[in-house]
Structure formats: C-alpha cells, structure tokens
Symmetry: C2
Subunit: 189 residues, 2 copies
DNA sequence: CCATTTTTTCAGAAGTTTCTGTAATTTGTA
DNA sequence: TACAAATTACAGAAACTTCTGAAAAAATGG
C-alpha cells in the first residue's frame, strides 16, 4: 500500500511540525494522512501506510479522539472501524483552537487569578503581582476573542477568509478609534 | 537568594507550560522570572534562583536571544550582563507570535505551495491536492490576519483590549455581511 | 456462550531532549 | 599584552518521551 508522493510529503512534514501543534510525530502523521486521503482508513491500513506498529496506531487514535478530531465510519460486513478527519477544514481548526485553549491557556489563567489574589508581602511580590495582572489581562482578552471567533460558523469564517477582511474590520475600528481621539491620549496605561 | 512564593508559582507554572509555547522547561522558567522580577538579573543570579547550572542558563539565554525576547543592560563597574523582558508585555506577545509564525507556519505554507503546484498523477493525489489547497488557504488567511494584528502598535492593541472589542468589530462585520446578503447565499463554496 | 476478530493496555526497549561540569573562548581592564 | 572575569561549547549523564511486541480485554457473530 504505497502513498502518492504528494501525500508522503504532506504526512512527513506534519510529522515533523506535529509536536509544535501539541501532539507527537506519529499522531501528526496519522492526522495528516486522514485529512488528505480520499476515503476513511482503518487502523491496520494506517499502520501499514505509515510503517508504524498497530499498537502505536491504537494509542494515536485514542489521542486524536481526546482532541475530538476523528469521525468514525463503519462499512457493512466489515467489523473494523474506519477513521477520517471532518470534511470541513475550518471545523478542524476550530476544534484544535478550542482544545489548545482548554489545555494550555485556561490553566494559566487560573494560576494567575490565584496568585494575583494573594496579598503581596514584599516589594518583589508587589511588582510581580503588577506584572502578572498585565499578563492576565492580555491573555484573558485574547481568550475571549478566540472564544468569540470559534463561536462563528464555518460558513461565516469562510466568507471572511474569502474577502480577506477578518482583519480589515479591525483596521476600520482602529481608524475610528484613533481618528477621533485626542492625539496625545495615547499612553497604554 | 529566595524567591517570593508568588514568583515561585508563576515560574514553576511557566516551566510546565513552557514546552507548549515552543521552548523547554528551563527556558520557560527563566523567562517567567525575567518577566516578573523587579530588576534585571545576571546569569549567575538566574542560575542560583532557579537552581540550574550556569551553563544551562547560558544556553537558555542564547535561546531567548534567538527569540528576540531579551533586553540587556549593564551597570557601571560591573562587567556582567543583566537581562530583562521588555516592559511592554504586548510587545512580548507580538514577538512570540511573529517568531512562532516564522518557525512553524511559514515552512508549512512553503511545503503546501510546492505540493499543490505538482500535477497530481492519481485520484488519491488529486483529492490530496484539493484538501491541501483548502488547508493552504485557511493557514494563509490566518497568517495574514496575524501579520496585520502584529503590525498594530501596542498602544492600539491595549486600547482594543481595554474596550474588549477587538472582536466586536468582527461581529459588526459579520452582521453587515449576513444581514444584507441573500439569506440563502450561504454555501461555503 | 464459545471461537474468532479486533482493539487496547502495558512493560520495557529505543530514541530524543535536556542538563551538567569541564574546558575552551571571549571580553574587558590595567 | 597579560590577567582575570565572564561567557560559551560540548561530551556524556540523566531524564523524559515515544514506540513496539506480547498479552489481556472487548466486541461480534454463529
């Protein structure tokens, strides 16, 4: 079962990059394959196509399930499970965004809230508290923005992408904001 | 040289999360410390405060430099270099965003462009090409949006954060988009 | 409820990354 | 230029992650 060179390149690249995106090489390769292959694949096929052990595939599938990134199909007369990525690639991006937020950002916000609460005892602690507050507010703003974007439908997002203007609106906003304000009211704090 | 519990909690958390953000535990701890400490620190101080070897600090500093995340100071009569994070935390976020984009996203875009170019030879390859095109367009849109946001000044970003409306504008945009169009013109393709 | 297929678990092997101490290099000063 | 202070490079040790094969568990159908 030989892969086309196109798929091979894609899979191999995703394997290397994969760890950056929160999973390991094999899981990255597996998902790359499932995203571009033209039909759902079962665990044995994945194992053979990527030359990795069947058990490794099993662990990878478990991991991808925990990311909610798999669609499972069955074929009549075949007991195996067949896996594929969602058709809608924007949906994939949305899920990855949400999961990473939940796993990486939310715990940090919790920690920061707790530590900011505590009354600082030293100058050192006072300064740290100040800094943590700034960091908290930044991450919190970004989180909220991400939540809101993730709440948009794929259709809306696709339209915005197509118009290349998800950010143009931010610029309009910026111009409104800066255009009318007193020019020197600009200190961040 | 004992750290306040506040800083300890922050440093330790950033160490654990750090790897997610693209650097290892020690580098995460080092940068956490430099972000919240109330004065610049030299390599020996960092080494002692975090109980890691001097040479490890040296490697960490090198790594952080490559991310452009350090400000270096000198004190008269002291030959040591003193390090701190930029005062402006939004600047830090901007740099991390840019660097991660450069390291993680740009190579993927290059690979995708190359593979999409190649004429597919099989049905398998044809389908993969189609999928890669969708992925390319998604990543490319997000990249451009990120570039544009990163190009805004910290002041503007701080204002937008404060108003909690970096995304409200996107919603306005969405409403304009959806409100006036034919209601059924909604297929993503 | 047994036989067979399929999936999952898990202990240890293999591989990778991180960290340290030592040694080499660089920097600054007299 | 010589010296001391400071930084960096690097080989190997320690720690951690990933992967495999074997065995256990679960699912399916007769």
């Amino acid at each position: 079962m030989k892969l086309s060179t196109k798929i091979e390149a894609f899979v191999s690249h995703f394997g290397e990059m994969g760890s950056r995106w929160g999973f390991n090489r094999t899981v990255g390769q597996m998902y790359a394959l499932l995203m571009v292959y033209n039909r759902p694949l079962n665990a044995d096929e994945i194992s053979e196509m990527l030359s990795i052990s069947r058990s490794n595939v099993s662990m990878g599938i478990k991991e991808l399930h925990s990311w909610r990134l798999l669609k499972v199909t069955h074929y009549p007369g075949d007991r195996k499970e067949y896996y594929k990525a969602p058709e809608d690639i924007i949906e994939v991006a949305r899920i990855v965004l949400e999961e990473r937020h939940k796993r990486e950002v939310a715990p940090t916000l919790t920690m920061l809230r707790q530590e900011i609460m505590r009354e600082p005892v030293s100058d050192e602690g006072k300064h740290a508290q100040q800094r943590m507050t700034e960091i908290y507010e930044l991450i919190d703003s970004v989180s909220k923005a991400v939540d809101e974007v993730a709440a948009l439908s794929s259709k809306d997002l696709a339209k915005m992408m197509k118009l290349g203007s998800g950010v143009a609106s931010v610029f309009n906003f910026k111009d409104r904001l800066l255009g009318k304000g007193k020019p020197d009211d600009g200190a961040a704090e």
